[in-house]
Symmetry: C2
DNA sequence: CTCTGTGCAAAGCGTTTGCAAACGA
DNA sequence: TCGTTTGCAAACGCTTTGCACAGAG
């Protein structure tokens, strides 16, 4: 958190507009945000924001590998900043997503499977769906 | 494969129509199909099929836990028959999805993480994205 | 100053809905 | 026969697009 979003954008040949920085800040602060989450949040501090601008920028930042799409069963995708591989705990009740680090074996397992299948691994997404501690009454 | 789809449907209080059986057969044969895959296939043997019927039935069969949605980064979801936990190898080139069984450690890892986080695990989806052996020139 | 990015409104599509007719049990 | 399911066409809502203006570098 508290990354220099402007540098992050420039590194990817994207101009550091207030809209883009606000989008990144929202995602970074929350961890995972949907398009609507982002729009609702950023429009508060920048009322003239257009939803189309959010769409355009998310698409662009995913292409540039600044963001990663996290598709979720039965809901709209969320987006997160690119980061080390990790596990998602996705609450089916409150829809929050929490990250947990891989343990030492996790990587090995997936690499082994990929090698056995002669599969050229590019990206991995481990999603555990369930009820988070907060929602368990 | 070659399951008794009619019984499967009746077990879930769904009438065994030709449309539903054909949808299940397509998914079971291919392993994983998108809505459009299914429509394109079934309409061949049942030309009066409506796309709306496919949508309605997929939604229904997911609710009844006959099918499971597999959301995929940057593409439309695919659907599979419900089955034991497994890993998806998703080819980013040809879009094929292949299943691989969990090895002995996989379950342990996810159960451990869930317990540590007091997370009530309901469902898990492990997706490995990359290039399948066929597409590696 | 130049080229990129934004906002707006319209267009485009995938998905859902309502209803009469057809069908399964 | 009765309740469910289907097909059609319309409605919906999310996403994308084109273009003139604004803004970053």
């Amino acid at each position: 958190m508290m990354i220099d979003y402007a540098s992050l954008l420039k590194k990817s040949d994207l101009k550091a507009t207030f809209q883009r920085i606000s989008i990144l800040k929202d995602i970074d602060t929350k961890g995972h945000s949907s398009i609507d989450d982002i729009y609702d949040e950023v429009v508060k501090v920048y009322p003239s924001l257009s939803l189309a601008t959010v769409y355009k920028n998310i698409i662009l930042m995913v292409e540039k590998s600044v963001l990663v799409e996290v598709p979720i069963v039965g809901k709209k995708s969320k987006y997160e900043l690119i980061k080390d591989d990790h596990i998602h705990l996705i609450c089916t009740q409150c829809e929050e997503v929490e990250d947990r680090p891989y343990n030492r074996n996790t990587d090995t397992i997936f690499n082994t499977i990929s090698q056995e299948q002669n599969f050229q691994l590019e990206k991995q997404q481990i999603n555990l769906y369930g009820i988070c501690s907060v929602c368990q009454v």
